[in-house]
């Protein structure tokens, strides 16, 4: 098989349609891709796997969902969103029976949101193969390039690393070897056969069947008895339940009678409580009203009276002073009037004296304490009247009202306490509580019987099922009994087949191991930097222990190899295995040189890459294959590409040439070449 062209469309960092020519010749088998980390080397490597193997390229047990997820994550990101479809197409030639056929395989995916729809198209020499239905194409491809074999040819640094670690720990290595040699399939066939045989043998033997039949019948009888017992107990329990129900009814009606009078009383008390609460609230409001009115003055009766007295005294005195002043003024007016005197017979020279005498007499009659008023002058007549009536109210009405309301309130409060106590009391305990106790016991008993009945019903239905099943089993046994002779014949046949398979496996393993031994020796000595010191590799047929024999005849177990040597060893092993697989497939290698020292690198570059197969496609970083190593490879290279990731665009553009071909003319982008 030789791959001629890879067309990748909207897949990973590759935008639009990218056509990459992979043609090589036997003299120049190498196609080299150079790109820095993240440039899209591994995407191309994986794309080849996806195209050829679809879901199985991720491993045999991959779930459809995981595969769709993997594909979805590969849809190219445009600046304005994700592409909703992608495609990978491979064109290759494949020789079969001396004739070369040209194949093209295109696998495309469309994102339908919920799922990914995959489409596969295979053409041979430009025609759709007429002998195959669409759903057989995948199987056809599997035959052409078996996934198990392709993992020997398509490998990345990680695979080598894995194999190298398996070499280090013996147990895993054995598994890997068998699986890589294709021996695991035969082993599985052997195991399946042994299971088949042991089952068939178990089934054979009439004696065994008769014994089993006996046992089954015993079991059936047991279940029958069980079912009978259950049914009987169920009847008994149902009777008991009826009895209990009628007892409970009569208890309940008794309690209803006794409890009825209690309930009536309770209702009465509740009613009374509501009345009392309402009345108490009303009386409390009344007290508050009184307290918010004239009540404060009631508390200082003496002062109130003193104020009233003082106001009254001062008012009276003021009134007297006013009256005297008015009278004196009026008298003076009269005494100063000559006409008044002319009407009398008082001689003119005595008028003065008489007037003075009259004034003095009047003064004497109207003698008043001339104290200054202290309170009265601060209040108007209206205010004073208000104070008098307020004091009267405070000292007479308020005490009476307050004592009446308070007395009622106190009585009601006392009664309320009694009512509350009455409500808090349990019902007439001596009467009702024994009844209730009885009722509780009855109810409990009833509950127990009820749940036992449920258990019984469940038991009955289970027993019935078991019984039916047993009867079926017995029937089957009887049928089987009839077939037994036929069965033992088949078992014998299978045993023969198994013996043959085991023989075959042993022979095959021996042969494969011998081939592997010689190929591995050849390859390892070519690639190892101690090639001159090592003579050959020996593999123990039984234990699969691998050891390296030096030219001096000493043996060195493979587990003693250094980490770098193990890598080279693993690479040699892959190479050797690929060789003996007898499949003419190209080697596709992804970043294979990561952990190697310079000597080992040089060995891989000078010996492995140019010689590994008729076509070798290598994905490499600039540090793995540097300038000088490129020089060494150059003669073997048919095509070289540089993968450059444009960060601002978010896409990878493949161009002709390797890293150091910075000659502008060679560095044309593929688009320009292909358009």
């Amino acid at each position: 098989m030789r791959i001629n062209k890879l067309v990748i469309t909207d897949f990973g960092p590759y935008r639009g349609r990218n056509e990459i020519t992979l043609t090589s010749s036997d003299d120049s088998p190498i196609v080299l891709f150079g790109g820095k980390n993240g440039a899209g080397k591994t995407t191309l490597f994986e794309a080849i796997g996806f195209c050829l193997h679809g879901k199985s390229s991720l491993g045999r047990r991959t779930a459809r969902k995981d595969y769709e997820q993997a594909i979805r994550s590969k849809l190219h990101e445009y600046p304005d969103g994700k592409a909703d479809s992608a495609a990978v197409r491979l064109e290759f030639e494949y020789a079969h029976m001396g004739e070369v056929d040209h194949y093209s395989v295109e696998r495309s995916w469309r994102d339908r949101g919920k799922s990914i729809v995959e489409n596969l198209e295979v053409r041979r020499n430009g025609q759709i193969p007429s002998e195959l239905n669409e759903d057989q194409w995948q199987d056809f491809l599997k035959e052409l390039v078996p996934p198990g074999v392709s993992q020997l040819f398509f490998f990345d640094g990680e695979k080598i690393q894995e194999l190298a670690s398996a070499v280090e720990s013996d147990a895993d290595f054995e598994d890997s070897m068998y699986s890589l040699l294709g021996l695991d399939l035969i082993e599985r066939l052997d195991t399946d056969l042994s299971i088949y045989i042991s089952r068939k043998l178990d089934e054979s033997g009439v004696e065994g069947i008769n014994e089993e039949l006996e046992e089954l019948r015993d079991e059936r009888n047991q279940f029958e008895q069980e079912l009978k017992d259950f049914k009987q107990e169920k009847e008994e329990k149902e009777e008991k339940l009826q009895e209990l129900d009628s007892k409970i009814d009569s208890k309940e009606s008794k309690i209803a009678q006794e409890g009825g009078s209690y309930a009536d009383k309770r209702e009465e008390l509740k009613e009374r409580r509501a009345e009392l609460n309402a009345s108490i609230e009303q009386h409390e409001n009344q007290i508050r009203e009184i307290a918010m009115g004239a009540y404060p003055f009631t508390l200082a009766p003496d002062l109130c009276e003193a104020v009233v007295d003082r106001l009254k005294t001062e008012t009276e005195r003021q009134n007297k002073v006013t009256a005297r002043n008015e009278l004196t003024d009026e008298l003076n007016n009269v005494l100063g009037d000559n006409e008044v005197w002319q009407e009398t017979e008082v001689p003119e020279d005595q008028i003065g004296e008489v007037a003075e005498r009259i004034q003095q007499k009047l003064q004497g009659r109207l003698e008043i304490d001339d104290e200054e008023p202290e309170l009265a002058h601060q209040f108007s007549e209206a205010q004073r009247q208000e104070i008098y009536s307020l004091v009267d109210k405070a000292l007479h009405d308020v005490p009476q009202q307050l004592s009446e309301v308070t007395e009622e309130l106190e009585e009601e409060t006392r009664e309320l306490q009694e009512v509350e106590a009455g409500l808090g009391k349990a019902p007439d305990e001596e009467l009702i509580s024994p009844l209730i106790e009885d009722l509780n016991e009855l109810t409990e008993e009833r509950g127990a019987i009820k749940s036992r009945l449920e258990e019984l019903e469940e038991g009955i239905s289970k027993a019935q099922t078991k019984l039916e099943r047993k009867e079926n089993e017995i029937e089957n046994k009887l049928e089987k009994k009839a077939r037994v002779e036929d069965v033992s014949e088949r078992a014998n046949l299978a045993t023969d087949v198994r013996d043959a398979v085991q023989d075959f496996r042993e022979q095959l393993a021996k042969e494969k191991l011998r081939k592997l031994e010689s190929k591995l020796s050849e390859r390892y000595i070519t690639l190892s930097n101690k090639g001159k010191f090592y003579d050959k590799i020996e593999i123990d047929e039984e234990t699969l222990d691998i050891s390296i024999k030096t030219i001096h005849g000493n043996k060195k177990p493979h587990t003693e190899l250094s980490a770098g040597e193990r890598q080279i060893f693993a690479t040699s092993l892959l190479w050797a295995l690929a060789d003996i697989s007898d499949r003419p497939l190209p080697f596709i290698v992804d970043t294979p040189l990561g952990r190697l020292d310079n000597d080992h690198r040089d060995n891989l570059i000078t010996h492995f890459f140019p010689e590994a197969a008729h076509q070798v496609i290598i994905f490499s970083t600039d540090t793995e294959i540097d300038d000088s190593q490129y020089q060494k490879l150059e003669g073997y290279i048919s095509n070289a590409y540089h993968l450059e990731y444009d960060e601002t665009e978010g896409r990878t553009i493949p161009s002709k040439g390797y890293f150091w071909d910075d000659d502008d003319e060679n560095q044309q982008s593929l688009e320009e070449i292909t358009s």
Partner: protein, 133 residues
Amino acid sequence: MSQKFNRITIGNDATNRLKMLKANTGMTPNYLCRIGFCYSLNESRPPNPEEYDNEGQTFNRYTLLGEHDALYMALLKERLIQENKDPEEVLYDEFVAHLNRGVIRVHGNVRDLTDLEDLVPGEVKGKHAQQEG
């Protein structure tokens, strides 16, 4: 002059007791203050204004005394006259002192609304009893 005070600040102790009294009786501090004030006025021994701080609640005089402001002030002045004090000079201090003392005393004696009746002096109750009898 001092007659014209408008704001009254009572002590911390009295303020706290007003809160408790309010919880006991369902009455607001203004009314409780009036009761306390009169209760104190009826005690023969005068209060000592020095005993009370002024860290407590502040009242507006009109809302505190309400429509009967005149009589409350008259009672206080009458008492001051009887004690030979000059109302003009000591009116505010004495007012606040009676208020503080009264509230504290009332709180000590009132657990619920029925206790208000017990605060009424016997002589007044006596008159009531005589009238009835």
